[in-house]
């Protein structure tokens, strides 16, 4: 276990989101970005591995320059290196186009043992990027992992599926998405926060990654928005106002009337 790569994502702070009226994609430049909360699991897991195996942790994000504070946050949690994948050509990427960029950047970091990501992002919520990136790298992927340990060239993971909790032996290197429910998440280290202020990430463009334009961004995304529309709201129903006690009584009467208590 020499190197662990963590992919993180900046998501718009709830309430600061603006949507491009033409492309219907998020205007990430305008939004205030926060670290995708589920990525904290991937970072925490990586730091636990670092504590145990003394491995190097490299953190990668794809996004506009305003994602730099997120990388610094990852540094203050214990990451050793920061990489920002940033290029106008990346804008509007769907999960395939995103995975292409990540896979290339990860591939350039060989040799590595593990790639960790959050289960999903709280904005898109697709959960597709970890397995899709793994697929492009030709690596195994395991999703919703809650424990990781290393035995030689294999990693032993525990994951929760819809049916069971499984202990799985996986060949290294592998891509894992981590459960959002860990028992503890460390806060940033104050010392590393002070250091991080003065550090800048390595910034890589499409050209640096030798990726052709037609595979990137909106152009390179096979899923396209056809149209966007507002869902019609049905006619307004009845409105009751009053004290909670009063409303509770009326509601109970209504429920009785509807024979809700008899089912």
């Amino acid at each position: 276990m020499d190197k662990v790569i963590v992919c993180i994502k900046g998501v718009p702070k709830p309430g600061t989101v603006k949507v491009d009226p033409e492309t219907h994609t998020l205007k990430r430049e305008s939004a205030e970005l926060i670290l995708n909360p589920m990525d904290r699991s991937a970072l925490e897991m990586a730091m636990r591995l670092k504590d145990k195996y003394n491995c190097e942790v490299v953190v990668i994000t794809m996004g506009p320059p305003n994602a730099v504070p997120l990388l610094r946050e990852a540094y203050s949690l214990g990451a050793d290196k920061m990489i920002l994948l940033s290029d106008r050509l990346f804008a509007g990427s769907d999960t395939l186009a995103t995975s292409r960029v990540l896979a290339r950047a990860i591939s350039n970091l060989k040799p590595f043992s593990l790639v960790l990501m959050g289960l999903k992002s709280i904005d898109g919520e697709t959960a597709q990027v970890p397995p899709e990136t793994a697929s492009l790298l030709g690596l195994p992927s395991v999703t919703n992992v809650k424990q990781i340990s290393v035995e030689g060239e294999k990693v032993i993971v525990v994951r929760e599926t819809d049916y069971s909790e499984e202990e799985i032996e996986v060949d290294l290197p592998a891509v894992l998405s981590v459960t959002p429910y860990l028992d503890y998440y460390r806060p940033p280290s104050f010392k590393r926060m002070l250091e991080a202020r003065k550090l800048d990430p390595l910034i890589l463009s499409a050209q640096d990654l030798a990726l052709p334009e037609e595979l990137l961004g909106l152009k390179g995304s096979p899923t396209q928005v056809h149209s966007v529309f507002e869902k019609k709201i049905m006619e307004r129903g009845e409105i009751w106002e009053g004290s909670p006690e009063e409303l509770a009584k009326r509601l109970i009467d209504l429920l009785k009337e509807k024979e809700i208590f008899k089912n």
Partner: protein
Amino acid sequence: MTLHSFTEEQGLLIDLVKRIGEEYIAPYALEWDEKEQYDPLPMRALADADLFGIIVPKEYGGLGMGVFEMALAVEYLSYYCAGVSTTFAASFLGAYPIILFGNKEQKEKYLPEIAKGKKLLAFALTEPQAGSDAFAIKTTAKREGDFYILNGVKQWITNGGIADLYVVIALTDPTKGPRGASAFIVERGDPGFSFGKKERKLGLKASVTTDLIFNDCKIPKDRLLSKEGMGFMVALKTLDYARCGAGAQALGIAQAAIDVSIKHAKRRIQFGQPVYQFQAVSHTFAEMAMRLEASRALVYSVAKYIDSGAKDFSGASAMAKCFATDQAMWICERAIQMMGGYGYMRDYPVQKYFRDVKCLQIYEGTNEIQKNIIARELAKLYK
């Protein structure tokens, strides 16, 4: 209405403490209080955040910051739970003697682990018959070859049982009275060292208080801090440094009490308007805010005075502790009154602030003892 400006580092420190408060303390504080439960979670987070290292010199892996930064951390932590900040601040009380009086070997042995938060500390002076009258302690430490043998009981020790290291004041030469006292580092697990039951308290319920029992407790002689006979010197100097911490706790609790009660007063409608509109109410808040800001100004200025390298600051630190805690007690009492019945209910946090803040007028030297110190220092100015 904060009237103070901070350096960039201090600003980051405050933000980090707030973050720890929001994430690791706020969701649980009422539950810990209700269940009288010590949860190591916030200590683990504070350790991971390097915050046990605030006052530890950089060469021992600490942050090398001063009393002011320690006070800021304690103030903002107390805003979320004074029980938690008591555990944290009591650990500093145990760390100061080692930082101020430890020899090179002792510092190298203990400070790196203290800075990392791997060792929690406690400071033990009080005994059943020696509260405000600290010189009346009876615990003895008898030299036997390369060891000291401790016998006696320390009472109401914060972090008793959960701390890893205890700085204990004991008599090496009972014939010499206060000049016969010495300070020792005792480790949990030392033979003959045990703990009394967990005390049941009015407030600060998230912290642990027990007796320490020394029954032929045998420790190596290199655990002696400074020299024999210096025990009270160590203790008093430590308390001089730590008093700003108690003052800072008062600031955090009082701020929380004001925040909660003023929000309530602005929303609570009686006689057709928010109660804040009544002058009796709004003037009370004005008074609460004035008293808090006056306390804050005093605590901050004393902390900065100590950090500037002042030699003699017993009186100043006693003023900071006594004034800020007295004002906070008044503010918390008023906060309950401003909320009426809501303030008295255990679903709301103000009653907790009121119970927590009371202890601050008592521990780390009662406010009456603080006034003795102030009066003594004052007298020196008018010889």
